[in-house]
Symmetry: C2
Subunit: 106 residues, 2 copies
């Protein structure tokens, strides 16, 4: 039972490579669970459990269509990660010079 911590933890959710891969697949468009399972070498249940972690972190949304559960990416949830990472850009920029400023969109 993958207990998803008290707080929906986006950082924890994307720490697992399979979960990042799931998100990458969903980036191309929404998919039912079976289509995701087909991309991995683990059981249906394992993917379902990963989807739960992603959903509780707000990284994916689920739309139920008959007996198909269709998942889609919710990239807004990555905001937390982007914001935390962005706090390092000043230091980064200082060290890298022009390249850093470019990454900063300036």
């Amino acid at each position: 039972m993958p207990e998803p911590g008290e707080t929906p933890d986006v950082f924890h959710a994307i720490a697992e490579p399979k979960r990042r891969h799931i998100l990458d697949l969903l980036l191309e468009g929404e998919r039912p669970v079976q289509a995701l399972v087909a991309e991995f070498d683990v059981s249906f249940a394992a993917i379902s459990q990963h989807l739960r972690v992603l959903r509780e972190a707000g990284l994916v949304a689920r739309r139920i269509d008959g007996r198909k559960h269709v998942y889609s990416a919710e990239p807004e949830a990555l905001d937390t990660v982007l914001e935390w990472t962005a706090r390092y850009r000043p230091l980064w920029r200082k060290r890298l010079g022009r390249l850093g400023r470019h990454l900063d969109g300036q």
Copy 2:
């Protein structure tokens, strides 16, 4: 399929809240281990172990000064995270409109 541990795993390193907090402290400037330990409610050894994970992920550097080991942030290592996250910005932008474009630095 992305295998875990293929490379020093930055995503895993920043998944742990205490490790993010350590990085946040180092963002203000380099510090010896004792100064970091003082900010937490765990043992010296625990922090030392977290520092090892961060160092192996390339997120911190260590400078040995006498019997002090002075750590500093290596924000370039967050590049991996920023790049992966950035792949979601097109979808994001599409959904959020102007705000998305702003985040994109346009």
